[in-house]
């Protein structure tokens, strides 16, 4: 039986992904800062996968604990999904340094810190898949969310480099750029329905892409074209736009 580790298991996307992997008979390890939030999910997954599910405390903001966290896992995973993220509040982040550091530290520093630990193990074992949930926001910085966007841009670049390095060790790295998803993160936002993926659908697409060893994916095909256009607007025009 293969094992999947989910980093940031409390989110709607993580839950949908965990269920998708459970349905495919993966044994699951769920990591989350407060494990009391995922106890019920663990029961759910045990019933679905008919295998024990482990929950472990993990905080992206405490990089000093990451090596010990990984060493403590009773079974080493075959697949790791790095799902956690923190969008924060752009306006607040412009004036409040704690908020902006948090956005950078969860999305970039924390992610790099834990994935480097895991990458070293995977490279030595010459097997495994790492899936990083990045964001379209990282494709180009925009005034409405560039702190988050730049952290995700860094994460995207990191995943690209990691893919390059680990390819030579037989380890696969996949980057996911979701676009809009209807989750707790976007609750209360008025998202256009056709550009928004429900978590279950997103999980299905990600799982399918994982089985086909895709490198970089957008969840909905429209996003690929939208982001291509956004990237190609000349900077002298782009800087004047309100996005």
């Amino acid at each position: 039986m293969q094992t999947a580790l989910i980093l940031g298991a409390g989110s709607d996307l993580a839950r949908a992904l965990a269920r998708r992997f459970a349905t495919a008979s993966y044994r699951l390890i769920l990591a989350e800062p407060d494990t009391s939030l995922i106890e019920d999910l663990a029961k759910d997954l045990e019933i679905r996968s008919q295998a024990p599910v482990e929950t472990v405390a993990f905080d992206a903001l405490k990089p000093e604990t990451h090596q010990a966290f990984y060493d403590s896992l009773s079974v080493k995973p075959d697949v790791v999904l790095c799902v956690f993220g923190y969008m924060g509040d752009q306006l607040k982040a412009e004036t409040d340094s704690a908020e902006r550091l948090r956005v950078m530290n969860v999305n970039y520093t924390g992610a790099v810190s834990i994935l480097e630990v895991i990458a070293t193990d995977f490279a030595a074992r010459k097997a495994g898949t790492l899936i990083g949930i990045s964001s379209c926001a990282g494709d180009r910085g925009r005034q409405s969310n560039y702190i988050y966007g730049s952290a995700k841009a860094g994460f995207t670049a990191y995943l690209s480099g990691l893919r390059n390095r680990l390819f030579h060790h037989g380890v696969h790295v996949m980057t996911v750029k979701p676009g809009f998803m209807r989750t707790a993160m976007t609750e209360g936002l008025d998202l256009p329905e056709i550009l928004t993926a429900m978590p279950d659908r997103a999980a299905e697409i990600i799982f399918h892409a994982f089985t086909r060893k895709r490198n970089v994916i957008y969840l909905l095909w429209m996003w690929k074209w939208i982001m291509m256009m956004v990237r190609n607007v000349p900077e002298c025009v782009f800087k004047r736009m309100k996005m």
Partner: protein
């Protein structure tokens, strides 16, 4: 934030505060907010039962919590859908004891409407216990023996007793994911009622009835009855190799609202005629997968959009056994002559069944879909008079327009129901547009 929300009939559409519940702790927080609120599952009720100023959406409270694989007893959160239960447990040889005509409903919705299906009995007959959060935030465990009064009022209580958090239900064992189905063409109302009355041992039965046909064809129907197929019943090798799984056909989708005129009397008449004649004369048996037998409508996503933006409603009434034989022909006559034409009409007989406030009781029910038009509600008021005359009632989960009188006269325990609600929820926290329309809180 306000969000445009409507249930399955797309009428009415309101702006509501939708709060997505993700766990019990949040339930406690949300329930202490000001203003009236109501729980909502997948919004598969037709009218205004799951609408209020504030909506507690339970869709994301959907963990399975425990499963006894010897006894088939499942405990899960209220937002788990029937579709999900089937996906997980049918391959292990367990099936839902009762299921409505769509699998996209939640456990909470199935309990709150005490839904029925093609089998005898209703969903809550198989609910062993449940946990409900009352208006004051207290979580009550109830069952047929523990807090029994609360249990019987919550089943069919349309979310007015509290927020159902989780339930323990009994699944039934099956050998296959298939149904041995028999279809029988019945030339008129008498013959289909006669068939229901001499049903014999069939577990599942329902009749599609042509409500457009008049004269000697009035009430012509196609009876569909079924039994879970045993392994030995399976006919082909694909089924035999993997009897508990099947690969359904890909789903169709109605991506946009149809224009209002797409569904008119002519198309309805043509559809009904075709449906009747498609069924071979006499009785006919075959093996079908459970999706095809129980959920033919689920095959087309968003089929409610064919009714267009004006929306539609379902008129579902039940006549007690004693008056069915006299009342049904009268009502059918009235329906077929009024020229409204129902695309889908379903007739079923309920056997013995105890009910406090839930819809099912011994008798015949008929369900018809109608697009919302200017003259519809006045016409349905006339139907109401006849239904009352024969001692009948309407199904709350489908209703969007009945008057308070219809509810209080149709449901013999309506007054006691209202008193109990008042006692458990003195601040009237749980209110739906429907409960207010029906004067339940007065």
């Amino acid at each position: 934030m306000k969000r445009k929300t409507a249930n399955w009939g797309n009428y009415p559409t309101i702006e509501a505060d939708v709060l997505t519940l993700r766990n019990q702790r949040q339930a406690n927080e949300f329930i202490h907010r000001d203003g009236p609120m109501i729980a909502r599952g997948l919004g598969r009720c037709y009218g205004d039962s799951a609408l209020s100023e504030t909506i507690l959406s339970t869709e994301s409270c959907n963990n399975l919590l425990a499963f006894d694989s010897e006894k088939g007893i499942l405990t899960c959160e209220a937002g788990v859908s029937l579709a999900n239960i089937l996906d997980v447990f049918t391959p292990r040889g367990w099936f839902l004891p009762v299921t409505p005509g769509t699998k996209f409903v939640t456990i909470g919705g199935a309990i709150a409407a005490d839904v029925h299906g093609k089998s005898s009995g209703s969903f809550c007959d198989y609910v062993l216990s449940m946990q409900v959060m009352k208006a004051d935030g207290e979580i009550l465990t109830c069952s047929k023996t523990e807090n029994a009064e609360f249990f019987e009022t919550t089943r069919g209580g349309m979310g007015l007793t509290g927020l159902i958090l989780q339930a323990t239900i009994q699944l039934i064992p099956v050998e296959t994911a298939y149904i041995r189905e028999e279809t029988v063409q019945c030339k008129d109302l008498d013959s289909v009622m006669d068939l229901f009355d001499h049903m014999g041992k069939w577990t599942y039965s329902v009749a599609w009835i042509d409500c457009v046909a008049t004269g000697k064809n009035m009430g012509r129907s196609v009876m569909m009855r079924g039994e879970h197929a045993r392994r030995a019943d399976l006919v082909n090798s694909t089924q035999r190799r993997d009897p508990l799984n099947f690969h359904g056909l890909p789903k169709l989708d109605v991506p946009i609202m149809f224009p209002n005129f797409a569904l008119n009397n002519l198309s309805v008449k043509a559809f009904n005629m075709a449906y009747y004649h498609k069924c071979p004369k006499g009785a006919h048996e075959h093996i079908v997968n459970y999706d095809a037998f129980f959920y033919p409508l689920d095959f087309v996503n968003n089929w409610n959009r064919i009714y267009g933006r004006r929306g539609f409603t379902q008129y579902q009434f039940l006549l007690p056994m004693e008056s069915s034989y006299e009342g049904l022909p009268v009502l059918l006559e009235k329906i077929s002559s009024c020229g409204l034409g129902s695309f889908l009409a379903v007739l079923k007989k309920f056997g013995p069944h105890e009910s406090f406030i839930s819809f099912p009781k011994p008798g015949y029910f008929l369900a018809l879909d109608f697009p919302i038009t200017k003259k519809l509600f006045a016409l349905l008021d006339e139907f109401d008079k006849l239904v009352l005359k024969y001692g009948g009632r309407l199904y709350l989960a489908k209703d969007v327009r009945m008057k308070p009188e219809m509810f209080f006269k149709g449901y013999e325990n309506a007054d006691t129901f209202c008193e109990r609600i008042k006692q458990w929820d003195p601040q009237q926290k749980f209110q739906s547009l429907q409960s207010r329309r029906l004067n339940i809180h007065q």
